[in-house]
């Protein structure tokens, strides 16, 4: 617990964005989306130069080649420098990692889809660079080789299951190779990269002196040294550029700005930062290096920034650095990665919808001494995020019983100002308890942070969540399999034969068939993951991410792409539980209890997608069955049963020799993707439409008893006892949240839910008319952020289907 300077909080409340913050934001909004091919040009050159060398060293040299030569730029509004491209917005491609993953490069028009709805244009020469890279890297890239290995094991099943949206992600998303966790900021900053180089050199010396024979370890340390030095050198390039620009500058203010950049970039990240400003510059260079190594690691992930940056913050204030300067630097850097786009693979476009880097920042939360660590910097972070009104960073407030009201008030006000569920609230206590249940000591568990959206992870552990193509299983797709005797949405038998549901004599038969399907799907998926784990390491390495991301890499002399039992966590997600449970209730009642329909009648309606008058009648019958989210025992109990049983199935698989799987049920924009994997469902949802957003949100329009009834249903779900990260989205009307009392009431509401064991909640504060107008006139709403299951995005950038979804969600009167 910190002693809080309340007068500092008042000063923070009065802060506005600095001129350069505003200039940057304006430039960012006006900048065209561009795809840059500089990096890929250099990866190819390096790859040719290092032919025949060890993969670890080749990867390191590739990063050095890129960082030594990629064009750089200092913008007029930059005081902290470093971007992936020379554009204010820009993206580098990841063909050396993901192979031939950008299918658009084979079209001659040069139009590259960056999201489902937005694109960038390449000229002929640029297009040819990417094509050449695809030809060069595809044959031996990690996804291609892994898909080959999968094919050898299960034939076409792996790709068929992806095509049926039964499991994701695709290996082409490039996070395969493990770990997207935050860099080890609390240790890197006080040491400086020069010290890390020294330690690597020491390891090499000691290892050789001790008679060690595993040359791979030596290669790793050597590779790490190359990448660390390349990061330092990249910073020096900025210092040199700043000096050169300063030389030709006559304006003294400009000269001073550039001089400071030069001085800072000479000092960090080689040496430990002395100020808050230097710490942010340090972090930016390391984040850049991580991105250049693998552009799919396109985030800065600050994690518990209010903790490890607090000392610099307080020290600066003591030394007379103006609060305005600190806030301006913070605003600049906390949002910068949110302006860096990337080209993702086709599946990722459907599962995530967004295409910019996510900086995940946590505020508050319990510390080593079991007290809440919220401080003035937590407050400043919320303040600048509210002022910026950008959809990134993702900010999570770690709620616990000691969370002070003053930070809750700031958090809700930030929600109001961003209108986009920033910050979201996550239960510290549920998270820490879950980790401790999994055998992690408190000291480590209390340092948990979010990854991307709400998936929790621990420092210094490689996260295998999403790696090896194993993350999510689509239970709505599994229900589709069950209702069609193992045939998926594409009519392919990716499931097992569990019988024609028309022949089931009881609801229990159907229920059991469903879980047989799930078990078969998960089992096969985990097989694929095991294969991928072995194959990936042969084709991809990340020495820089390893040395700065996983403390143990240094001592082990080991790249994190080699899964290590002592330093790895494995996550999976069983999604669409609510859709399945609501469907089960409808079948149970309509067919087996009330006998309003026969199974044949229901199936006919589903297979015709509720066509015709009879179809509509059946659909309405389905919709009128009890639904989760209304505090109706029958519906909520089914959610709990499905949740528990699904968790039981997953936890029954051992993951030897690794730690057991952890179930995480977050949302992303996955419900759009998941919906493409299921035909019409017995809960009344038409074929291919998005599923419920979030993992604990009620079906769209089905929650009719007000927001507290939704929470009461959620409390009965039992999610907190079987998984971490349950996502509950609630949308509130902004016009009725204007008074301090109403903000206090929303705090009391949040506190009550969290105290009762809720693990996550976030609020969209919007009104329907505004959203409809935004859909019709996107040009007037470029600022508008919405939150979808853990991510936030610009409303106008979402696909039309998701926009409708956001609009449709029932709006509670507050």
């Amino acid at each position: 617990m910190y002693e809080i300077d309340k007068s500092l909080l008042e000063k923070i409340d009065a802060l506005e964005l600095s001129e350069r913050n505003v200039a940057w934001r304006k430039a960012m909004k006006e900048a065209p989306w561009r795809v840059y091919v500089d990096r890929e040009r250099l990866t190819m050159a390096s790859w040719h130069e290092t032919e025949g060398e060890d993969l670890e060293l080749r990867t390191a040299k590739m990063l050095k080649k890129v960082m030594d030569n990629v064009p750089i730029k200092i913008h007029p509004f930059d005081e902290i420098v470093g971007r992936p491209t020379t554009g204010v917005i820009g993206c580098q491609t990841a063909i050396n990692v993901c192979g031939d993953y950008i299918h658009d490069i084979w079209n001659d028009d040069g139009v590259i889809g960056v999201t489902l709805d937005a694109s960038a244009i390449l000229n002929k020469e640029e297009l040819e660079v990417l094509r050449e890279a695809a030809r060069l890297f595809e044959p031996n890239c990690m996804p291609k080789r892994t898909y080959d290995a999968w094919h050898a094991l299960v034939g076409d099943w792996a790709t068929q299951a992806e095509e049926a949206k039964l499991r994701d992600p695709s290996l082409r998303n490039g996070i395969t190779g493990q770990s997207t966790s935050a860099l080890d900021w609390p240790n890197i900053l006080p040491a400086g990269l020069k010290e890390y180089i020294r330690r690597c050199e020491q390891h090499i010396e000691d290892y050789i002196a001790s008679g060690g024979t595993d040359v791979n370890k030596v290669y790793f340390w050597q590779a790490a040294i190359i990448t660390l030095q390349a990061t330092i050198d990249h910073s020096r390039r900025y210092a040199a550029l700043a000096r050169e620009m300063a030389a030709g500058e006559s304006d003294p203010a400009e000269k001073a700005r550039l001089g400071k950049i030069a001085e800072t970039c000479d000092h960090v990240p080689e040496n430990p930062p002395r100020t808050f400003h230097e710490a942010l510059q340090f972090m930016e260079m390391c984040s850049l290096a991580k991105m250049f190594e693998n552009p799919m690691q396109n985030n800065s992930h600050w994690a518990r920034a209010d903790q490890y940056l607090y000392g610099y913050f307080k020290n600066d204030l003591k030394n007379g650095v103006p609060l305005e300067q600190i806030a301006s630097d913070l605003a600049d850097m906390i949002g910068r990665w949110g302006t860096q786009t990337f080209v993702s693979d086709d599946m990722n476009k459907e599962t995530h919808q967004i295409n910019f880097g996510i900086n995940n920042v946590m505020v508050g939360g319990l510390g080593q001494d079991h007290t809440d660590m919220t401080n003035e910097l937590s407050y400043l972070i919320l303040h600048v995020v509210a002022k910026l009104k950008l959809s990134s960073p993702t900010v999570g407030l770690r709620w616990n019983n000691q969370t002070p009201d003053w930070i809750m008030r700031k958090a809700i006000r930030t929600n109001l100002e961003t209108r986009g569920g920033i910050p979201l609230f996550q239960s510290d206590e549920v998270m820490i308890r879950k980790y401790m249940d999994w055998g992690i000591p408190y000291e480590e568990a209390c340092e948990w942070r979010g990854l991307g959206c709400v998936y929790p992870c621990l420092p210094n552990r490689a996260e295998h969540y999403g790696a090896e193509g194993v993350a999510a299983y689509n239970l709505a797709g599994v229900l589709h399999l069950t209702l069609h005797n193992g045939l998926d949405i594409n009519g392919v038998r990716t499931g097992i034969e569990t019988g024609d549901p028309r022949s089931f004599a009881s609801f229990d038969e159907l229920y059991e068939a469903f879980f047989q399907q799930e078990k078969a799907l998960v089992h096969k998926g985990l097989w694929l993951g095991a294969v991928a784990r072995d194959v990936c390491h042969q084709y991809i390495r990340t020495p820089l991410l390893s040395i700065l991301g996983i403390e143990a890499s240094m001592d082990l002399g080991q790249d994190l792409t080699k899964a290590d039992p002592d330093h790895s966590m494995f996550g999976v997600s069983d999604r669409a539980i609510i859709d399945v449970a609501d469907s089960f209730v409808a079948i149970k009642k309509l067919v087996y209890e009330d006998k309003v329909l026969t199974m044949a009648e229901l199936m006919d309606a589903l297979d015709s997608n509720f066509a015709g008058e009879r179809g509509e009648e059946v659909r309405q019958l389905c919709l009128r069955q009890p639904k989760y989210g209304n505090d109706i025992e029958e519906a909520d109990e089914m959610v709990r049963r499905v949740s528990d049983r699904s968790a039981e199935i997953i936890y029954a698989f051992d993951n030897a020799p690794f730690r057991n799987m952890i179930i995480s049920r977050e949302g992303l924009a996955w419900h759009y993707f998941g919906g493409l994997g299921a035909g019409a469902l017995p809960d009344g949802r038409p074929a291919l439409e998005p599923l419920n957003d979030g993992s604990l949100s009620p079906m769209r329009g089905a929650d009719k008893n007000g927001p507290t009834a939704v929470l009461r249903s959620a409390m009965k779900s039992g999610y907190s006892s079987v998984c971490c990260a349950a996502v509950l989205n609630q949308k509130f009307n902004s016009s009725l949240l204007g008074s301090p009392e109403s903000i206090d009431k929303l705090i009391a509401y949040t506190n009550a839910y969290m105290k009762a064991g809720g693990s996550h909640i976030q609020y969209n504060i919007l009104d329907t008319e505004q959203l409809k107008d935004a859909k019709a006139h996107p040009e007037n709403y470029a600022d508008l952020i919405v939150r979808i299951g853990g991510f936030s995005a610009y409303f106008v950038q979402l696909s039309k289907g998701i926009q409708d979804d956001v609009i449709y969600r029932s709006e509670f009167e507050l």
Partner: protein, 302 residues
């Protein structure tokens, strides 16, 4: 036979109807007919069927379901009120919630069973249950039974009242009610009769009774431009409140809004304030300040 009341709605997470997070229970039946009433579905003490034309998809199921042939083919006006006996079969038949039934017969136990579910939210916010309407004290025995059950679980109780009920109704609930939200609509009794259908003698007398009994009271005034906003009424209202001789008595203004008008259309009831405009925030503030100048602590409802 357990005591029942017609309940039109039980609304959770209500935050403008008393302290904390509240559940508001709307009971049907009201002795007044205020022209500005925003809840016309609760005026009648019987079940009413309403039609929300914007939700109608013209499937015709309502017509087929009606035993009295009371369904009209109109897009806007669906119910032939002459023929309709409010059996609500059409509400059952409607797939799209375009036909709605106002009024469910419930016992106090049943209502309590709903209300108690939000106990954790009351506890964390200092909230509780509020009875509203209609005029809830036309069901004083029911309210007393409900409040007694709430008291048993430590749930805060509040009654919103127009005051136009016999003294005995207040006596019945007095000990069980933690707060009264008491409307003082107009001080001139004739004008009161003109706009609400009743004079205000009984109302003022009840207000004085409550004040003398030491009850916790917040006076409220729906603020209607030109009707009760002129200085004359402000002055008289302030004088009345001060005459009650209690320092803690305050007034809350509820600026007129038109949110209820769609319900009039749904019920085929003419709206008699068609030309009334909501007051601008500055005008409301001026009235509030005026109350303060007359020595009455005054706030504006959000």
């Amino acid at each position: 036979m357990a005591l029942t009341a017609l309940v039109s709605n039980i609304q959770g997470y209500s935050i403008h109807d008393g302290p904390g997070i509240r559940t508001v229970v709307f009971l049907k039946g009201c002795p007044l007919r205020c022209r500005w009433c925003a809840n016309p579905e609760n005026l009648s003490d019987r079940v009413r069927v309403g039609f929300l034309s914007n939700l109608c998809k013209h499937c015709g199921r309502c017509a087929k379901s009606c035993p009295r042939g009371a369904i009209l083919p109109d897009a806007d006006r669906r119910i032939d009120r002459e023929k309709c006996d409010e059996c609500a079969k059409c509400v059952e038949a409607c797939f799209y919630d375009a036909l709605v039934r106002y009024g469910e017969e419930k016992t106090a136990e049943e209502v309590f069973e709903q209300v108690r579910r939000d106990k954790i939210f009351y506890d964390s916010s200092g909230g509780g249950v509020t009875v509203s309407g209609g005029e809830p004290l036309t069901h004083a025995d029911f309210v007393a039974e409900l409040f007694a059950l709430c008291r048993g679980e430590g749930i805060h109780t509040c009654a919103e009242t127009c005051g136009c009920v016999p003294r005995s109704a207040f006596e019945r609930v007095l000990e069980l009610t933690d707060a009264f939200y008491f409307d003082l609509k107009l001080m001139d009794s004739e004008k009161h009769r003109e706009y609400t259908g009743q004079g205000n003698g009984q109302i003022l007398s009840n207000a004085r009774f409550l004040a003398d009994s030491g009850a916790n009271i917040l006076f409220r005034q729906p603020l209607i431009s030109g009707v009760n906003s002129p200085e004359e009424n402000v002055k008289a209202t302030a004088a009345f409140i001060r005459s009650l001789g209690r320092e803690d008595l305050a007034l809350q203004l509820i600026p007129y809004h038109r949110m209820g008008t769609s319900k009039y259309a749904a019920l085929d009831i003419p709206y008699r304030l068609e030309d009334m405009k909501p007051m601008a925030a500055e005008e409301v503030e001026a009235v509030r300040a005026l109350y303060e100048s007359f020595g009455v602590s005054c706030t504006v409802s959000k």
